[in-house]
Symmetry: C2
Subunit: 364 residues, 2 copies
């Protein structure tokens, strides 16, 4: 896919920088060090990294050709330039020149400093990162890793819901701590778990604090540090009778059902998003002035919580093997917010819900 | 500091993008969304973010003026351009033009796509991020947060060392799990904790696996998710008699002592690094071919595990209030690796060790 892109753009190299999921996906190697992964139009691949990472990279990375900055003259460059960033940039430029580069491709989030240095020597074009597209469609082993996370997550959530009945004076902090601690026992790390309540929950990313009022919105997206993959799940629990919240929640559940029923290979994500909007509107819920259904319908999930494809106001063709969230919500400042979210695997003719769990939860 | 830089560079705006510690440090606001923080030479500040983050940002951010992409015409731009990245870039360009920008400053890691879009409209200069410099010298509240992490870390490490005596057939995996689990109980999250042994430990970032041989290198760098700050600590434990490892370890401890004795305001980090190199050399330990003392002496620690200042082959003036690690090590492929690391607060006339713990540990 990268080589096709290079041919199409008439470029000699694509350069992937380190410190992100694309680099890990492409190289199977992770380090806090600055590293570069070069793919040539002739199929050559080169990983450049500090010498202290060499031994580990030879063992762990799937890239066969690996060179160290030191081997490529880092010490001399440092003596000449006195600046690590400039030294690394010159090494990269030298290496590309050796590879007879005229034009190089870089991803949108490539560091500007390096992009400008490259621009002094080559034609540089920013492209949609081909690894983002590759990552969007999961391999069987990736699906298994996400499924494993989802099943742990549901087990923990079930335990949490069971405890709710026993607990008086429930606070958002208790809920968050309980869920994150239980997930940790099963090897998952969750941070910034949303356990929000009351009017503040009208801000979709409010973490939540204090005593739980009529409803509790739980949005948890743990990572499995041993695999690198995420899960993502949201339920809104009615703790006490509140008809406004209850009716909003039922509309959101209906909209989610509608969206999920549409999912299969070939569908346009924009149509799914529009169906959610229409459904919520049919229930009388308007979106304006920062209230209503104020975010998109969902997103891919994998090595990042949010990745390709986005399911919202944008054209995107769903493909078999994509793993996405479907998470409609409604938010009104005078009432609060509700959201329901599941992880779903797109298949040829339908989809599989990876987080099968009751949508309407009333603990009263 | 940012305004001085803008004046010096004769520029109208500095732009900080989201998704990194600099953005959080500058705005006190965190979100997975794309956001921009603009500082004008006239002292104006503006935070631009999605409307769904607005309410939370008003409550949490220290930036007073906040505008949403939606308010600035996101929907219209999307209709026109059909691409979220281009729409955001145009909004940013429009806003800068309104502020009569001719020249804008961006940090080195600014996304290339946006940098190129800005370049079409303004003079663009990449600068050393002023927030990196500000972050290097800690405020009292930041020092307190790091100290708190260090004291939890030492308590957990002490418990681990005490357990070592009772444990037969210790594995790297057991050590890692034990330490990470205990840290979690105290609210710290540690990932990729290095517990390495044998010859593989000659790779400084090898995580370690299998049964512990003669020595165990533990390097743990937990984050406190409620404050965002890190700690960082390394000890090499002699599990069984091994004179080669023991002599290496004693040399490293000596080199660390020497380095720490030099630390105070005004000292050049390069001199500290050279003192470490000289000390290890005086013990007969050569550095070449990826063996010996193959990394730098230390680094700042705070909202990132590795931040300014770097203490290595580079000139950097130490200042009172900097919090840095001092972590010499020796690595030989036929023997293995040893490293000792402490967190240290630079003061006017000396330094304070924030991880006071025995350096030589022999559990035999």
């Amino acid at each position: 896919m990268v080589i096709e892109l290079l041919r199409e753009k008439n470029a000699e190299f694509f350069i992937q920088h380190s410190g992100n999921a694309n680099f890990f996906y492409a190289t199977k190697f992770r380090s806090s060090s600055t590293m570069f992964y070069l793919i040539g139009v002739d199929g050559t691949e080169l990983l450049i990294l500090p010498e202290m990472e060499l031994g580990r990279a030879v063992r762990e990375s799937k890239v066969k050709e690996i060179a160290s900055f030191e081997k490529l003259g880092y010490e001399e460059k440092m003596k000449e330039l006195g600046n690590p960033r400039k030294a690394l940039a010159e090494i990269l430029v030298d290496r590309l020149k050796e590879g007879r580069a005229n034009k190089v491709l870089i991803p949108a989030d490539f560091p500007a400093f390096l992009a400008f240095e490259l621009q002094r020597n080559f034609e540089v074009e920013v492209v949609e990162n081909p690894f983002l597209k590759l990552r969007a469609v999961k391999r069987a082993d990736e699906i298994a890793k996400i499924k494993q996370n989802c099943s742990i997550l549901l087990r923990v959530f079930e335990k949490f819901v069971n405890r709710l009945n026993l607990r008086k004076n429930l606070t958002c902090e208790f809920a968050r701590n309980f869920i994150e601690r239980e997930l940790f026992f099963f090897g998952l790390i969750a941070e910034d778990t949303i356990c929000s309540t009351g009017k503040l929950s009208a801000d979709p990313h409010e973490l939540g604090k204090g005593r739980v009022e009529d409803h509790l919105l739980v949005d948890v997206f743990p990572k499995n540090p041993s695999t690198g993959y995420y899960a993502d799940f949201t339920r809104t629990i009615l703790i006490r009778k509140n008809s406004e919240i209850e009716v909003m929640l039922k509309a959101v559940i209906e909209a989610q059902k509608k969206a999920i029923s549409m999912l299969r290979e070939g569908v346009n994500g924009r149509d799914v998003h529009n169906a959610v909007k229409d459904c919520l509107k049919s229930y009388g819920y308007e979106t304006k002035g920062g209230e209503g259904f104020i975010h998109s319908t969902g997103h891919g999930i994998g090595l990042e919580v949010h990745e390709e494809p986005r399911i919202g106001d944008i054209d995107v063709e769903l493909k078999s093997g994509m793993v996405v969230t479907i998470e409609p919500g409604l938010y009104y400042k005078k009432v609060g917010g509700v959201r329901v979210e599941d992880v779903v695997l797109i298949r040829k003719n339908d989809c599989e819900i990876l987080t099968p769990y009751e949508s309407f939860l009333g603990v009263m």
